[in-house]
């Protein structure tokens, strides 16, 4: 469980994180979404006590992170960039961290196996590919077998096999009852992996909800229905409070009613249907809609620039 209350971070006049309050519950994968520069990494650094908040507080398992004597047993974190001395082997890197928290050698071997780095464990980490570096970072996060895990952009640089592996791993960790907090700018990946979302823009909370509710609450979701008795159906739907737009001789675009409700209404009133389909906006569209005001860098006159990361 991660709990942020009124968390703020100011660098001079720049507000990186602005009065942010959210909760990351155990047993689920919670995605952390926001455009570049929206304060995701700053927030994660504050959770780990690497940066001090200007005001507000954040606790992990009910305590500020810096109070833990052996924090690797409480929180495992994969940080955005490689946090590894390139001259050290993968095994030695993990040993350095393990020793500082009183974690034994055997556990280092276990996590090396778990992330599939055993065969290169004695190679210098400086020669690792981005994907191997990410695996090493994940091994470090798993070292203390912690109940809370945080991953900043974990699928960066991974091949499709690696992406699938991460997705499976994160879900398995959450299924074991752990708190999993994951930032990513890859919307499709987030849609596949996360159960809940914390969405921020310009350092402020935009939404905190389940992925389903987040997508469903968008303005673009609608139901398309085609019927030979279009007008009768339209009157019935309007009486139920739905909004109707006619589309051609027999089609209606319905908002404000679910596909199930439209189908049931037609059945009860014995109206034949030629098509009944639900059109939901993707997570990406919903996200763009919500954050369109809070993107710092966009290309002039064109569509949103792809987020480089």
């Amino acid at each position: 469980m991660i709990e942020a209350i009124g968390l703020s971070k100011r660098y001079g006049d720049t507000v990186a994180v602005d009065d942010l309050s959210f909760t990351v519950p155990p047993g689920q994968v919670t995605g952390f979404l926001g455009p570049n520069g929206s304060g995701k990494s700053t927030t994660m650094r504050m959770i780990l006590g690497l940066d001090a908040p200007t005001s507000g507080s954040v606790t992990v398992g009910g305590r500020p992170y810096t109070r833990y004597r052996r924090p690797l047993l409480e929180v495992g974190a994969l940080l955005e960039a490689k946090a590894v001395h390139g001259g050290r082997s993968a095994r030695d890197h993990l040993r350095c961290l393990a020793l500082s928290n009183g974690i034994g050698k055997a556990r280092v071997e276990q996590v090396l196996d778990q992330v599939g780095l055993r065969s290169v464990a004695d190679k210098r980490a400086g020669g690792f590919s981005l994907g191997m570096g990410q695996r090493l970072g994940i091994a470090a996060a798993l070292l203390g077998d912690p109940p809370v895990l945080m991953f900043d952009e974990p699928v960066n640089g991974l091949d499709p096999e690696g992406v699938l592996w991460i997705r499976t791993l994160l879900k398995a960790l959450a299924a074991e009852g752990r708190t999993v907090f994951l930032s990513s700018h890859l919307m499709t990946e987030m849609a596949l992996t996360a159960d809940r979302l914390v969405v921020i823009g310009r350092g402020q909370l935009l939404a905190q909800t389940t992925v389903e509710d987040f997508v469903g609450s968008g303005s673009g979701s609608f139901v398309r229905v085609r019927s030979n008795e279009r007008d009768a159906l339209a009157r019935l739907l309007e009486a139920q409070g739905a909004t109707i737009v006619t589309e051609g001789p027999d089609a209606l675009k319905v908002t404000g009613a679910s596909g199930d409700a439209v189908g049931e209404l037609a059945r009860v009133n014995q109206l034949g249907l030629q098509e009944l389909s639900t059109h939901q906006v993707s997570l990406e569209e919903r996200y763009m809609e919500l954050t369109s005001d809070s993107v710092d860098y966009r290309t002039a006159g064109g569509p949103l620039a792809p987020a480089p990361n």
Binding site: L79, S100, A106, Q114, L169, A172
Partner: protein
């Protein structure tokens, strides 16, 4: 090769979990950090080799060219430790890198996430480095002394460790290297940049001596002894110079420089964002 998550019970936790992680764990981690990077080994070997080789060369080629007058006034311990000019660079750089390499590689974020008690971490790092530098520095200086004695032309400048002041001066060389390295570590903790801290360390060592040589002689005798380099010289000289500090005084002054740098480094370490 792709393993899926092996479920661990949240209650039982990681294998090999001790009851408590204390300062000993931090110390073990910092010693391991020094040991597990190959450059540490090369740097330390380089320091010892520089001391021994230069001592042997001085004994073989320099001593025979000295006049009898020069021989009479020569401080043969300072001659044996001529390699300190090189080995101090090696140990000083190692002290700087002990902390700045964590910043330049990003390792510092993993380190501080694992040990949020930052000053405890820095204390463990300081202690691990100091012990390593003291042991290697002492080995380098005693090895240099014996090499110098072994290669001396017959009958000239011979001494033994039992002679008055000899063991103290040779050991002083080892302590000098360790304290200089600690000054480097302190500057590294303040500046967090390898290049910046190395420049600051050797700037502090050499620049004041050069500046002072341009000032009136009275300054050189009053301020001169308190410069880091001259205070260090006093630590490993057999004979005290007329205006120089005593060996203990030299140690005190150089340690003060290191203590000031470390104190500022410790204070900043607690308050700065990583």
């Amino acid at each position: 090769m792709l393993a899926t998550a092996t479920p661990h019970s949240l209650a039982s936790g990681a294998a090999g979990r001790g009851p408590f992680a204390g300062f000993g764990d931090l110390l073990a981690s910092e010693f391991f950090k020094l040991r597990s990077v190959r450059s540490t080994l090369w740097t330390l070997l380089g320091a010892v080799a520089a001391n021994v080789v230069l001592a042997a060369l001085a004994a073989l080629f320099l001593v025979s060219r000295l006049s009898s007058q020069e021989l009479a006034s020569a401080d043969h311990i300072r001659l044996s430790l001529v390699g300190l000019h090189l080995s101090q660079i090696a140990i000083g750089v190692l002290g700087v890198l002990a902390i700045t390499s964590e910043y330049s590689t990003g390792m510092i974020r993993a380190t501080l996430a694992a040990v949020p008690r930052r000053r405890m971490m820095l204390a463990a790092k300081t202690l691990a480095f100091a012990a390593t530098a003291l042991v290697v520095g002492s080995v380098a200086c005693f090895a240099a002394y014996f090499a110098f004695q072994a290669f001396l032309p017959s009958g000239l400048l011979k001494s033994s460790l039992g002679d008055p002041g000899v063991a103290r001066a040779v050991a002083g060389g080892g302590v000098y290297l360790a304290v200089l390295g600690l000054l480097g570590l302190g500057l590294g903790a303040i500046l967090r940049s390898s290049a910046g801290a190395i420049a600051a360390l050797f700037g502090l060592l050499f620049v004041p001596v050069i500046l002072l040589s341009m000032l009136p002689h009275s300054w050189q005798t009053s301020v001169g002894p308190y410069l880091p380099m001259n205070a260090g010289d006093a630590m490993y000289s057999l004979h005290r110079e007329t205006s120089g500090l005593s060996p203990a005084g030299g140690l005190g002054v150089l340690s003060l420089y290191a203590a000031i740098a470390l104190t500022i480094g410790f204070t900043l370490m607690k308050h700065r964002d990583a």
